[in-house]
């Protein structure tokens, strides 16, 4: 059996980040929203950019603490990744959020809108993976 405690502990750190961002700055930790926010210059620009820089530095910090880089196995080829990236970028803006904004933050405040979004994107992603198994 794979030990799941790193997943649970890692999740708790993600939840702590979302809780602190709300308690300190009054902001939802939605990554797609933060990234898209950089495209319009507003008062939150510096804080949003700082969050994303912190996010970038998370893996090197983990590598320094753990003595190894996080595992990363990317199965999809570059053309598939490019198509997937376009869909994720467009879809998260149209649907106003991703796994963090609707998942970690929306579900935490019991938003019905976020619950629907999470069920739809998780269900669609599961169907997509299942469909991929049927193809040669």
């Amino acid at each position: 059996m794979t030990p799941y405690w790193p997943s649970l502990a890692g999740g708790a750190l993600i939840g702590l980040s979302a809780a602190l961002l709300m308690l300190l700055n009054g902001r939802v930790a939605g990554i797609s929203g933060l990234v898209a926010g950089l495209g319009r210059l507003g008062g939150r620009w510096a804080a949003d950019l700082a969050f994303l820089i912190g996010l970038l530095l998370g893996a090197p910090l983990f590598a320094w603490l753990a003595g190894r880089w996080p595992e990363m196995r990317i199965e999809a080829g570059l053309p598939v990744l490019a198509v997937a990236g376009l869909l994720v970028g467009f879809g998260t803006r149209l649907g106003s959020g991703c796994t963090s904004g609707h998942g970690v933050c929306g579900l935490a405040r019991l938003s019905p809108r976020s619950l629907v979004a999470v069920l739809v994107f998780m269900g669609t992603a599961m169907l997509t993976v299942a469909a991929g198994r049927l193809l040669p």
Binding site: I14, A18, A19, M22, L24, G26, G95, S96
Partner: protein, 143 residues
């Protein structure tokens, strides 16, 4: 003057988020796709990540609901939209297809950039293009 403090708090929160993603295994698209692979060798890791995250974020948000304002800002910026409409559903479907194809969602993809992996860079560049595309479409609709 809370501006610099707000920026420092955001940096610290981003670092915690990236550290959590790294520890949780969510930077590994193969593992994420393992969770999504319900008809194959299902890997429940992501359910544990979400459960751990929600346990803490729910407490934090419940506390925030009892406060008048956050420590470093004049008010809480809670999302205001509550309608369950077509853009929400269509957007979630498109995101779900992209997530299923790649195993990447926005947070892990950005965190993965620091490993220097070219596939992550390609994904993030395409994601930014997709976001810019949505902005163009939205601007065209509003005109």
């Amino acid at each position: 003057m809370t501006g610099p403090l707000r920026v420092a708090a955001a940096l610290a929160c981003g670092l915690l988020f990236g550290l959590g993603l790294s520890l949780s295994g969510m930077l590994d698209p193969a593992r994420v796709r393992g969770f999504l692979d319900v008809t194959g060798a299902w890997d429940p890791s992501l359910a544990f990540v979400l459960a751990g995250a929600l346990a803490v974020s729910s407490l934090g948000y419940a506390l925030a609901r009892r406060l008048v304002r956050p420590a470093l800002d004049g008010r809480f910026h809670w999302p205001s939209r509550t309608r369950i409409d077509a853009p929400l559903i269509l957007g979630a479907v498109l995101f779900g297809i992209g997530w299923g194809l790649s195993g990447f969602c926005p947070g892990p993809a950005i965190a993965a950039l620091s490993t220097g992996a070219v596939p992550a860079l390609v994904f993030v560049a395409a994601m930014l293009a997709g976001m810019a595309g949505h902005r163009l479409v939205a601007a065209g609709r509003d005109r």
